[in-house]
Amino acid sequence: MMLGRVVGEVWATRKNPRIEGRKALLVAVLGQDGEKRTPTGEVVVAFDSIGARIGHTVAVAWGSGARAVFAAPDNRWTLVDAAVARIVDAVLVEKDGKEVEERED
Amino acid sequence: MKLCRVVGAVWGAKEAGSLGGRKLLAVRPVAVASGHSPADIAADGERPDLQDGLIIALDQLGAGIGEFVLVAHGSRVRDLTLGPGVPTKDVVVAIVDSAHVELDLLADEPVGTAPADRSNGRPACSGPAASGTAPHGEGGGA
Protein backbone atom coordinates (compact mmCIF):
# COMPACT_ATOMS: atom_id res chain seq x y z
CA MET A 1 0.00 0.00 0.00
CA MET A 2 1.09 3.54 -0.39
CA LEU A 3 -0.02 6.95 0.75
CA GLY A 4 -1.08 9.32 -1.94
CA ARG A 5 -2.94 12.51 -2.60
CA VAL A 6 -5.79 12.64 -5.06
CA VAL A 7 -4.92 15.23 -7.72
CA GLY A 8 -7.40 14.50 -10.45
CA GLU A 9 -9.95 12.29 -12.07
CA VAL A 10 -10.13 10.32 -15.32
CA TRP A 11 -13.31 10.02 -17.33
CA ALA A 12 -13.84 7.35 -19.97
CA THR A 13 -16.98 6.14 -21.72
CA ARG A 14 -15.54 3.54 -24.08
CA LYS A 15 -14.04 0.87 -21.89
CA ASN A 16 -13.86 -2.79 -21.11
CA PRO A 17 -17.34 -3.78 -19.89
CA ARG A 18 -15.88 -5.35 -16.75
CA ILE A 19 -14.86 -1.94 -15.43
CA GLU A 20 -18.17 -0.27 -16.18
CA GLY A 21 -19.22 2.17 -13.50
CA ARG A 22 -15.83 2.45 -11.82
CA LYS A 23 -14.47 5.84 -10.97
CA ALA A 24 -10.79 6.37 -11.81
CA LEU A 25 -8.72 8.85 -9.80
CA LEU A 26 -5.25 10.25 -10.36
CA VAL A 27 -3.23 9.81 -7.18
CA ALA A 28 0.22 11.34 -6.61
CA VAL A 29 2.32 9.01 -4.46
CA LEU A 30 3.58 10.59 -1.23
CA GLY A 31 6.94 9.78 0.25
CA GLN A 32 8.66 10.92 3.40
CA ASP A 33 11.05 13.84 3.01
CA GLY A 34 12.37 14.61 6.45
CA GLU A 35 9.48 15.80 8.53
CA LYS A 36 6.99 16.21 5.70
CA ARG A 37 5.22 13.93 3.29
CA THR A 38 5.96 15.13 -0.22
CA PRO A 39 5.09 13.82 -3.66
CA THR A 40 7.72 11.45 -4.97
CA GLY A 41 6.97 12.15 -8.60
CA GLU A 42 5.09 8.94 -9.24
CA VAL A 43 1.43 9.04 -10.15
CA VAL A 44 -0.97 6.14 -10.34
CA VAL A 45 -4.49 5.79 -11.66
CA ALA A 46 -6.57 4.06 -8.99
CA PHE A 47 -10.19 2.98 -8.93
CA ASP A 48 -12.29 4.42 -6.14
CA SER A 49 -15.38 3.00 -4.48
CA ILE A 50 -15.42 4.98 -1.23
CA GLY A 51 -15.88 8.52 -2.50
CA ALA A 52 -12.46 10.13 -2.40
CA ARG A 53 -12.21 13.62 -3.89
CA ILE A 54 -9.45 15.85 -5.21
CA GLY A 55 -7.36 16.97 -2.26
CA HIS A 56 -7.96 13.91 -0.09
CA THR A 57 -5.04 11.92 1.22
CA VAL A 58 -5.68 8.26 0.54
CA ALA A 59 -4.14 4.85 1.11
CA VAL A 60 -3.94 2.99 -2.20
CA ALA A 61 -3.69 -0.79 -2.47
CA TRP A 62 -2.26 -2.35 -5.59
CA GLY A 63 -2.03 -5.79 -7.08
CA SER A 64 -3.95 -8.47 -5.25
CA GLY A 65 -4.75 -5.98 -2.52
CA ALA A 66 -6.61 -3.85 -5.03
CA ARG A 67 -8.59 -6.83 -6.22
CA ALA A 68 -9.62 -7.46 -2.62
CA VAL A 69 -11.07 -3.94 -2.41
CA PHE A 70 -13.49 -4.78 -5.18
CA ALA A 71 -14.58 -8.01 -3.58
CA ALA A 72 -16.25 -10.47 -5.91
CA PRO A 73 -17.06 -14.17 -5.55
CA ASP A 74 -13.92 -14.99 -7.47
CA ASN A 75 -11.90 -11.82 -7.45
CA ARG A 76 -8.75 -13.25 -8.96
CA TRP A 77 -10.01 -11.99 -12.27
CA THR A 78 -11.30 -8.61 -11.10
CA LEU A 79 -9.90 -6.00 -13.43
CA VAL A 80 -8.19 -3.55 -11.15
CA ASP A 81 -4.56 -2.69 -10.64
CA ALA A 82 -4.76 -0.06 -7.94
CA ALA A 83 -7.65 0.89 -5.67
CA VAL A 84 -8.32 3.41 -2.93
CA ALA A 85 -8.56 1.50 0.32
CA ARG A 86 -8.99 4.29 2.85
CA ILE A 87 -9.40 8.04 2.95
CA VAL A 88 -6.79 9.17 5.47
CA ASP A 89 -7.71 11.71 8.12
CA ALA A 90 -4.60 11.43 10.25
CA VAL A 91 -1.38 9.49 10.57
CA LEU A 92 0.01 8.64 13.99
CA VAL A 93 3.76 9.00 14.12
CA GLU A 94 6.30 8.86 16.90
CA LYS A 95 8.14 12.07 17.67
CA ASP A 96 10.52 12.40 20.60
CA GLY A 97 9.20 9.25 22.17
CA LYS A 98 5.58 10.36 22.02
CA GLU A 99 2.82 9.54 19.65
CA VAL A 100 1.87 12.58 17.62
CA GLU A 101 -1.06 12.84 15.30
CA GLU A 102 -0.40 14.44 11.92
CA ARG A 103 -3.66 15.44 10.38
CA GLU A 104 -3.98 15.26 6.63
CA ASP A 105 -6.61 17.93 6.14
CA MET B 1 5.43 -5.70 -22.93
CA LYS B 2 8.41 -3.76 -24.14
CA LEU B 3 9.59 -3.33 -27.69
CA CYS B 4 13.27 -4.29 -27.70
CA ARG B 5 16.05 -4.99 -30.13
CA VAL B 6 18.19 -8.10 -29.81
CA VAL B 7 21.79 -7.00 -29.40
CA GLY B 8 23.37 -10.28 -28.35
CA ALA B 9 23.07 -13.68 -26.80
CA VAL B 10 24.29 -14.90 -23.43
CA TRP B 11 26.22 -18.14 -23.33
CA GLY B 12 27.68 -20.02 -20.39
CA ALA B 13 28.65 -23.55 -19.49
CA LYS B 14 27.63 -23.46 -15.84
CA GLU B 15 24.00 -22.73 -15.15
CA ALA B 16 21.11 -23.59 -12.88
CA GLY B 17 19.60 -26.92 -13.77
CA SER B 18 16.13 -25.44 -14.15
CA LEU B 19 17.37 -23.19 -16.94
CA GLY B 20 17.77 -26.29 -19.03
CA GLY B 21 20.10 -24.92 -21.68
CA ARG B 22 17.48 -22.50 -23.00
CA LYS B 23 18.55 -19.55 -25.08
CA LEU B 24 19.10 -16.23 -23.31
CA LEU B 25 19.06 -13.07 -25.39
CA ALA B 26 20.48 -9.70 -24.45
CA VAL B 27 18.00 -7.03 -25.57
CA ARG B 28 17.86 -3.27 -25.33
CA PRO B 29 14.53 -1.47 -25.07
CA VAL B 30 13.68 0.78 -27.99
CA ALA B 31 13.62 4.46 -27.08
CA VAL B 32 10.23 5.12 -28.58
CA ALA B 33 10.21 8.78 -27.61
CA SER B 34 13.62 9.57 -29.08
CA GLY B 35 12.40 9.94 -32.64
CA HIS B 36 15.35 7.98 -33.98
CA SER B 37 15.03 5.08 -36.38
CA PRO B 38 17.22 1.96 -36.47
CA ALA B 39 19.03 3.47 -39.45
CA ASP B 40 20.55 6.18 -37.23
CA ILE B 41 23.85 4.81 -36.03
CA ALA B 42 26.34 7.26 -34.56
CA ALA B 43 29.96 7.38 -35.64
CA ASP B 44 31.11 5.47 -32.58
CA GLY B 45 28.63 2.70 -33.23
CA GLU B 46 26.18 3.90 -30.58
CA ARG B 47 22.52 3.45 -31.41
CA PRO B 48 20.41 6.42 -30.30
CA ASP B 49 17.18 4.61 -31.06
CA LEU B 50 17.79 2.23 -28.14
CA GLN B 51 17.74 2.88 -24.39
CA ASP B 52 20.81 2.20 -22.32
CA GLY B 53 19.49 -0.60 -20.15
CA LEU B 54 20.08 -4.24 -20.95
CA ILE B 55 17.45 -6.91 -20.35
CA ILE B 56 18.25 -10.61 -20.46
CA ALA B 57 15.21 -12.46 -21.73
CA LEU B 58 14.54 -16.11 -22.41
CA ASP B 59 13.64 -16.88 -26.00
CA GLN B 60 11.73 -19.81 -27.42
CA LEU B 61 10.83 -18.30 -30.78
CA GLY B 62 14.29 -18.23 -32.30
CA ALA B 63 14.96 -14.51 -32.59
CA GLY B 64 18.25 -13.45 -34.10
CA ILE B 65 20.57 -10.56 -33.38
CA GLY B 66 19.23 -7.38 -34.94
CA GLU B 67 15.61 -8.46 -34.80
CA PHE B 68 12.98 -6.61 -32.82
CA VAL B 69 11.09 -8.55 -30.17
CA LEU B 70 8.39 -8.05 -27.56
CA VAL B 71 9.53 -8.90 -24.04
CA ALA B 72 6.99 -9.50 -21.28
CA HIS B 73 7.92 -9.37 -17.61
CA GLY B 74 6.35 -11.32 -14.78
CA SER B 75 6.30 -14.64 -13.01
CA ARG B 76 2.84 -15.42 -14.34
CA VAL B 77 4.01 -14.76 -17.88
CA ARG B 78 6.83 -17.19 -17.23
CA ASP B 79 4.39 -19.79 -15.93
CA LEU B 80 2.19 -19.45 -19.00
CA THR B 81 5.00 -19.73 -21.53
CA LEU B 82 7.78 -21.81 -20.03
CA GLY B 83 6.19 -23.38 -17.00
CA PRO B 84 6.84 -22.73 -13.33
CA GLY B 85 10.31 -23.18 -11.94
CA VAL B 86 12.27 -21.67 -14.80
CA PRO B 87 14.53 -18.98 -13.32
CA THR B 88 13.51 -15.98 -15.38
CA LYS B 89 10.86 -13.29 -15.36
CA ASP B 90 11.54 -11.82 -18.78
CA VAL B 91 10.27 -13.80 -21.75
CA VAL B 92 10.26 -13.07 -25.49
CA VAL B 93 6.63 -13.44 -26.56
CA ALA B 94 6.77 -12.19 -30.15
CA ILE B 95 9.18 -11.38 -32.97
CA VAL B 96 8.16 -8.05 -34.44
CA ASP B 97 7.68 -7.60 -38.18
CA SER B 98 7.22 -3.85 -38.06
CA ALA B 99 6.28 -1.08 -35.71
CA HIS B 100 4.93 2.38 -36.46
CA VAL B 101 5.28 5.31 -34.14
CA GLU B 102 3.63 8.63 -34.93
CA LEU B 103 6.37 11.06 -33.99
CA ASP B 104 4.02 14.03 -33.94
CA LEU B 105 2.21 12.47 -31.01
CA LEU B 106 5.26 12.33 -28.79
CA ALA B 107 5.24 16.02 -27.96
CA ASP B 108 2.82 18.24 -26.13
CA GLU B 109 -0.42 19.04 -27.84
CA PRO B 110 -2.90 21.82 -27.14
CA VAL B 111 -5.79 20.59 -25.06
CA GLY B 112 -8.84 19.92 -27.14
CA THR B 113 -7.10 18.94 -30.35
CA ALA B 114 -8.92 16.02 -31.91
CA PRO B 115 -6.74 13.10 -32.97
CA ALA B 116 -7.71 13.58 -36.61
CA ASP B 117 -6.34 17.13 -36.63
CA ARG B 118 -2.96 16.05 -35.46
CA SER B 119 -1.70 14.34 -38.59
CA ASN B 120 0.89 16.30 -40.50
CA GLY B 121 0.37 14.29 -43.63
CA ARG B 122 3.52 12.20 -43.44
CA PRO B 123 2.75 8.52 -43.27
CA ALA B 124 4.77 6.38 -40.90
CA CYS B 125 6.87 4.01 -42.91
CA SER B 126 7.04 0.34 -42.32
CA GLY B 127 9.32 -2.39 -43.43
CA PRO B 128 10.60 -5.74 -42.35
CA ALA B 129 12.37 -5.23 -39.06
CA ALA B 130 14.82 -7.98 -39.88
CA SER B 131 16.17 -6.15 -42.87
CA GLY B 132 17.17 -3.19 -40.74
CA THR B 133 15.02 -0.61 -42.50
CA ALA B 134 13.40 1.99 -40.30
CA PRO B 135 10.27 0.69 -38.67
CA HIS B 136 9.59 3.99 -36.95
CA GLY B 137 7.73 6.89 -38.47
CA GLU B 138 9.82 9.36 -40.36
CA GLY B 139 10.26 12.96 -39.45
CA GLY B 140 12.06 14.91 -36.84
CA GLY B 141 9.34 15.04 -34.25
CA ALA B 142 7.30 18.07 -33.33
Partner: protein
Protein backbone atom coordinates in the same frame (compact mmCIF):
# COMPACT_ATOMS: atom_id res chain seq x y z
CA UNK C 1 -3.41 1.61 -14.00
CA UNK C 2 -1.36 3.77 -16.30
CA UNK C 3 -2.62 6.80 -18.17
CA UNK C 4 -0.89 7.17 -21.51
CA UNK C 5 -1.17 8.16 -25.15
CA UNK C 6 -1.43 5.58 -27.91
CA UNK C 7 1.44 6.52 -30.22
CA UNK C 8 1.93 3.51 -32.43
CA UNK C 9 1.23 -0.06 -33.43
CA UNK C 10 3.26 -3.28 -33.54
CA UNK C 11 2.79 -6.06 -36.06
CA UNK C 12 4.19 -9.51 -35.42
CA UNK C 13 3.43 -12.81 -37.11
CA UNK C 14 5.78 -15.06 -35.20
CA UNK C 15 4.57 -15.05 -31.63
CA UNK C 16 3.36 -17.13 -28.74
CA UNK C 17 0.21 -18.95 -29.92
CA UNK C 18 -1.84 -17.61 -27.01
CA UNK C 19 -1.50 -14.06 -28.30
CA UNK C 20 -2.51 -14.76 -31.87
CA UNK C 21 -4.81 -12.20 -33.49
CA UNK C 22 -4.33 -9.63 -30.75
CA UNK C 23 -3.83 -6.01 -31.69
CA UNK C 24 -0.67 -4.63 -30.12
CA UNK C 25 -0.43 -0.92 -29.41
CA UNK C 26 2.53 1.19 -28.28
CA UNK C 27 1.51 3.43 -25.41
CA UNK C 28 3.63 6.26 -24.05
CA UNK C 29 2.72 6.79 -20.39
CA UNK C 30 2.21 10.31 -19.07
CA UNK C 31 3.41 8.95 -15.75
CA UNK C 32 4.03 5.59 -14.17
CA UNK C 33 4.30 3.88 -10.81
CA UNK C 34 6.94 1.26 -10.10
CA UNK C 35 7.68 0.07 -13.64
CA UNK C 36 9.32 -3.33 -14.00
CA UNK C 37 12.06 -1.82 -16.16
CA UNK C 38 13.02 1.76 -16.77
CA UNK C 39 11.43 2.17 -20.17
CA UNK C 40 9.40 4.98 -21.64
CA UNK C 41 6.78 2.94 -23.43
CA UNK C 42 4.46 0.00 -22.91
CA UNK C 43 3.24 -2.35 -25.59
CA UNK C 44 -0.31 -3.23 -24.61
CA UNK C 45 -2.97 -5.46 -26.11
CA UNK C 46 -5.82 -3.32 -27.38
CA UNK C 47 -9.28 -4.82 -27.24
CA UNK C 48 -11.20 -1.58 -26.87
CA UNK C 49 -10.44 -0.34 -30.36
CA UNK C 50 -8.44 2.76 -29.51
CA UNK C 51 -6.90 4.85 -32.26
CA UNK C 52 -3.43 6.28 -32.46
CA UNK C 53 -3.44 9.66 -30.71
CA UNK C 54 -6.06 8.87 -28.10
CA UNK C 55 -5.48 8.88 -24.36
CA UNK C 56 -5.93 5.41 -22.90
CA UNK C 57 -5.98 3.65 -19.54
CA UNK C 58 -3.69 0.63 -19.45
CA UNK C 59 -3.85 -2.14 -16.86
CA UNK C 60 -0.62 -3.97 -16.09
CA UNK C 61 -0.03 -7.24 -14.35
CA UNK C 62 -2.66 -9.81 -13.58
CA UNK C 63 -5.70 -7.77 -14.60
CA UNK C 64 -4.01 -6.96 -17.89
CA UNK C 65 -3.94 -10.64 -18.73
CA UNK C 66 -7.70 -10.96 -18.85
CA UNK C 67 -8.23 -10.68 -22.56
CA UNK C 68 -11.32 -11.81 -24.43
CA UNK C 69 -12.41 -13.99 -21.57
CA UNK C 70 -9.09 -15.83 -21.30
CA UNK C 71 -6.74 -15.08 -18.46
CA UNK C 72 -3.91 -17.21 -19.71
CA UNK C 73 -2.41 -14.77 -22.20
CA UNK C 74 1.29 -14.23 -21.52
CA UNK C 75 1.03 -10.47 -21.69
CA UNK C 76 1.88 -7.71 -19.34
CA UNK C 77 -0.51 -4.93 -20.20
CA UNK C 78 -3.81 -4.29 -21.92
CA UNK C 79 -5.83 -1.22 -22.79
CA UNK C 80 -8.89 -1.00 -20.56
CA UNK C 81 -10.51 2.28 -21.56
CA UNK C 82 -10.34 5.22 -23.95
CA UNK C 83 -10.14 8.38 -21.90
CA UNK C 84 -12.51 11.23 -22.65
CA UNK C 85 -11.29 13.69 -20.10
CA UNK C 86 -8.67 14.04 -17.37
CA UNK C 87 -9.37 16.54 -14.64
CA UNK C 88 -6.41 17.64 -12.61
CA UNK C 89 -6.20 20.11 -9.79
CA UNK C 90 -4.61 23.36 -10.78
CA UNK C 91 -0.97 23.50 -9.74
CA UNK C 92 -0.60 19.78 -9.19
CA UNK C 93 0.93 18.77 -12.45
CA UNK C 94 4.27 20.34 -11.67
CA UNK C 95 4.26 19.74 -7.94
CA UNK C 96 5.81 16.32 -8.27
CA UNK C 97 9.37 16.22 -9.56
CA UNK C 98 10.98 13.05 -10.80
CA UNK C 99 11.23 10.98 -13.95
CA UNK C 100 7.64 9.89 -13.95
CA UNK C 101 5.98 13.13 -12.98
CA UNK C 102 3.31 14.58 -15.18
CA UNK C 103 5.80 15.98 -17.64
CA UNK C 104 5.49 19.59 -18.67
CA UNK C 105 6.25 18.65 -22.27
CA UNK C 106 3.83 15.78 -22.46
CA UNK C 107 0.36 16.07 -21.03
CA UNK C 108 -2.86 14.21 -21.77
CA UNK C 109 -4.66 15.63 -24.79
CA UNK C 110 -7.86 15.47 -22.79
CA UNK C 111 -6.49 17.40 -19.81
CA UNK C 112 -8.68 19.96 -18.09
CA UNK C 113 -7.60 21.93 -15.05
CA UNK C 114 -10.08 22.38 -12.25
CA UNK C 115 -10.09 24.42 -9.12
CA UNK C 116 -10.11 28.12 -8.37
CA UNK C 117 -7.36 30.41 -9.52
CA UNK C 118 -6.88 34.18 -9.23
CA UNK C 119 -8.98 35.90 -11.80
CA UNK C 120 -10.66 32.80 -13.18
CA UNK C 121 -13.75 30.91 -12.19
CA UNK C 122 -14.05 27.20 -12.46
CA UNK C 123 -16.59 27.51 -15.24
CA UNK C 124 -14.06 29.02 -17.62
CA UNK C 125 -11.83 26.02 -17.37
CA UNK C 126 -14.23 23.25 -18.27
CA UNK C 127 -14.62 22.82 -21.97
CA UNK C 128 -11.09 21.76 -22.72
CA UNK C 129 -9.98 24.83 -24.57
CA UNK C 130 -6.95 25.77 -22.55
CA UNK C 131 -3.40 25.42 -23.69
CA UNK C 132 -0.97 23.81 -21.28
CA UNK C 133 1.53 26.15 -19.71
CA UNK C 134 5.13 25.02 -19.41
Amino acid sequence: MILGRLVGTVWATKKNPRIENLKLAIVRPYFWYNPSHDVEHVVAVDQVGAEVGQDVLVCVGQPGRWVAGDYRCPIEASVMAIVDRVEIERGCEHAAPGPFALRAQFKPTTLVRVGADEGMTGGEERGGGERGTP
